[in-house]
Amino acid sequence: MIPPRLDRREFLGTLGQYAGAACLGCGLGMFAESAFGESHRFTREVDFYTQLPGKKIQCFVCPLHCVLEDGETCFCRTRTNVGGQLFTRAYNNPCVLRVDPIEKLPLNHFRPGTKTLTLGTGGCNVRCLYCQNWQQSQKMPDEIKTFKLSPREAITAARKKKVDTIAFGYTEPVAFLEYAKDIAILAKKARLKVVVATAAFVEPEPLFELSEYVDAFVVTLKGFNEEFYHRVLGIELAPVLTAIKTIKEQTNAWLELTNLIVPTYNDDPDEIRDMVTWVHDHLGDDVPMHFARFVPTYRLANLPRTPVQTLETARAIGYEAGLRYVYTSNIAPHEGTNTVCAACGTTVIERLGFKVLSNGLKRGVCPKCHKKLPGLWC
């Protein structure tokens, strides 16, 4: 018999009982070596799960709450039940490792023009039909080419590359939450900034715990109806909205949202209006919203690119709804990539794609009207 699903309080209670501590490498290296012969595998226990009778476990990192038999791996492809304990496969083995402009996350109100060391691992708990990194996200970390990089080495690498931000993205950080968290903890000690780019299909607790070490979140709000989330992404919208609200209300992290507009799938102006209205009403008018251009890929390779007009319309709808900073992304050059002071209408940052061409802000203050723009500028 599997015990009934735990409610939130019970769940939190079980954490102390079963879950491994959020330490760096929890002394299970020996076990991992002997069982699987690869040092990066199964060295880190997952923080949020509960044990069930018969060596089964139930994962509580994301709202899927996967129930796993011994030896099985979660829907996210990264967490495996090893003899009744849940371990991550996505540890010390990123498949993406890049030094990028911060704008590529995309973040427009967070230290513009700086660079970030961005990491991502194989696996994802979302199944977007149009995933642009599906070669990595739809594979287990062990199935693709990876690089050996411990959290400590990640910090050293950032230092060596002279970047002072570490970001988690490209693939879904929720799938490698443990690795991200351990790096983030060290990053904070090393006075580096931490950014997470996520679809936010995550339980509030793990998110909240991670957010303690995070300076900015970029959340992809992929659409605004449950059917789209279910049929095109394989997940649910409601938990995403909860997570976004959690970030805004309960953390100090800077938040930007991005919405990739897929022609004929999520480009209905009414739906876009509903979305930006929700953003305005629940998160406020200062949250920057990015509308990104879709490029045919993966299982939606037969669709056209998003017409530029659609992006411009979405941007206009965002402004109509009262948002003060609405951007277009993935088209360049386009005025929608520039930052315009909402108070006086001056173009304060000019960009070409992800490249900052000019930045007139002084510590976030508009040179013309001297009002401070929302964001984290230095």
Binding site: C66, P106, G120, L149, P263, A292, P307, N330, I331, P333
Partner: protein
């Protein structure tokens, strides 16, 4: 015919767009027969001029004739193969242009087909050019050095000189003096333009006047007169094919198709630029209004000015106005734009937010190179330099030596790195070895000088013409019209996997079975 067949077999199956094979005067867009015979006679006249200038001996003429026979085979082969390819190209480019007009990317089959045909076109052009240039060199050896020198300024674009009464009045003298002063003032610009032309010729080798006129079937009669020989059948046949076409591909039809393709290519290239610039409705309105204001009679004046060698005042002024409408990013796109059939990445598909796999060419190249043995590496570097030379122009011996040293040093650095270290450093390393695009650099220099001397530059070159403006107006209408959005029925079509069915990636949903 036997000789012809064996030659055809021994040469490539190359053909090429008429731009190469036909003499310049045959590059007509209309295909009526009357104009073709006019072109032929103009071409014959140019051939006659050239032969007169060379003052060929009888023996030289005979030798040239035998080379011309080989060239004739190439001209026939080129015509036939090109004619066979044209309908396919026309169809593919037409579909490509239709999609380009919408600015929503290309369907994979349309894009691939266009790329394939474009490739065939290029391979063909290169092969035939190469062979004709080889024949040209052969013919060059028949000539004396003084004869070869006499060809130096036999410009291909030169038109027969029309006899004109020289005006010696005061006004024209003043005008000549003005022109001289202007020429002296703008000398650096002319020199820069000349350098750019030289580089362009190096990257895109073209047949010179010998191949174009002396060895061309239309020049054969004059050559025969000097050689006092019988006209070889192949030369008559070639002239006949170029004049009338073949039974399957009459010349009128071929010329018509070529004209249509030329038109489509221009249209596509314009769309690629328009799509890459992302002009908004307001900008489009401003630019077209500026153009309309300056167009019509003023346009004629500008053309006359350009012909007279004086600064193109109207165009330059218009260019400065249009320049004000564009933003910094758009200027950058223009500075990097080259007319193209297949839009390059920066116009078509800029790197996207959150996109992982966007390693540059040089990053990939470095990754391969760092794993090679020293012998393989030498080959790899040679190949890379050969490719670069083809696209960016030949390097001098010193430049080449420096470039090889830089590549070797960077590869050595990359090969001592661990995979992780390389992954983190490859972008920087790639930037280090990226070859500068000398054409763009030089073009930028020309543009800066043009600006300095109040002459038209890049914007005039690519944007200020009637066809571009018409397309811009079409884009403006498209933008104003908005987009009709009919939503996909999400229940049909591909469905994402979801946890209704699975918990574990390959297992059943245990939560579900629990409920049952």
């Amino acid at each position: 015919m036997n000789a012809r067949r064996s030659f055809v077999l021994s040469t490539s199956t190359a053909i090429l767009m008429g731009l190469l094979l036909s003499p310049p005067c045959l590059r007509a867009e209309n295909a009526d027969h009357g104009s073709r015979s006019r072109e032929q006679s103009t071409h014959e006249q140019r051939a006659r001029e050239l032969i007169e200038r060379l003052d060929l001996s009888r023996l030289q003429a005979r030798k040239c004739m035998s080379i011309a026979e080989q060239a004739a085979l190439l001209y026939i082969e080129g015509y036939e193969q090109e004619a066979r390819l044209l309908p396919e190209i026309l169809e593919a480019y037409d579909k490509f242009a239709q999609e380009d007009r919408l600015n929503q990317g290309f369907s994979p089959d349309v894009e691939q087909r266009t790329a394939r045909l474009h490739r065939r076109e290029i391979v063909l052009r290169e092969r035939i050019t190469e062979q004709l240039i080889a024949l040209e060199e052969q013919a060059g050896k028949v000539l004396k050095s003084s004869q070869r020198e006499s060809l130096n300024n036999f410009s291909q674009k030169q038109r027969p000189v029309r006899e004109r009464t020289r005006r010696t009045d005061a006004r024209s003298r003043a005008r000549a003096a003005r022109r001289q002063r202007e020429e002296a003032r703008t000398k650096p610009l002319r020199e820069a333009r000349e350098q750019l032309r030289t580089l362009h010729k190096q990257i895109h080798p073209r047949i010179g006047p010998i191949g174009q006129y002396l060895l061309h079937p239309f020049g054969a009669e004059r050559l025969r007169d000097v050689a006092r020989a019988r006209m070889p059948a192949i030369l008559t046949e070639a002239a006949d094919v170029l004049k009338h076409g073949t039974s399957d591909h009459p010349v009128g039809q071929v010329e018509q198709q070529k004209a249509e393709i030329k038109q489509l290519r221009a249209e596509i290239s314009n769309w690629n630029l328009i799509n890459g610039l992302h002009l908004n409705e307001n900008q489009i309105e401003q630019i077209t209004a500026l153009y309309d204001e300056a167009a019509a009679p003023t346009w004629e004046i500008a053309r006359r000015e350009s012909r007279s060698g004086l600064p193109y005042r109207t165009l330059a002024a218009l260019e400065r106005d249009v320049e004000q409408v564009l933003n910094t990013g758009q200027h950058q796109v223009l500075a990097e734009y080259k007319p193209c059939l297949l839009p390059p990445k920066n116009l078509k598909d800029p790197v996207r937010a959150g996109q992982a796999g966007d390693s540059s060419r040089y990053e990939k190249w470095l990754d391969r190179a760092r794993k090679l043995s020293s012998q393989e590496l030498k080959k790899q570097i040679d190949r890379a330099l050969e490719k670069e030379a083809k696209h960016l122009g030949q390097l001098s011996r010193t430049e080449r030596r420096e470039r090889v040293a830089l590549l070797r040093k960077t590869i050595r650095q990359a090969s001592t790195m661990s995979d992780t270290e390389f992954e983190l450093s490859k972008a920087e390393l790639a930037e280090l070895i990226a070859a500068p695009d000398r054409t763009l650099e030089m073009r930028g220099k020309v543009d800066t000088l043009a600006r300095k001397y109040g002459q038209p530059g890049i914007i005039t070159n690519f944007m200020l013409n009637t066809q571009f403006m018409d397309q811009l107006r079409t884009r403006g209408q498209q933008l104003a019209g908005g987009i009709a959005t009919k939503q996909t029925d999400l229940a049909t079509g591909p469905q994402a996997d979801n946890c209704d069915e699975v918990c574990a990636i390959d297992g059943k949903c245990k939560k579900k079975s629990k409920k049952e």
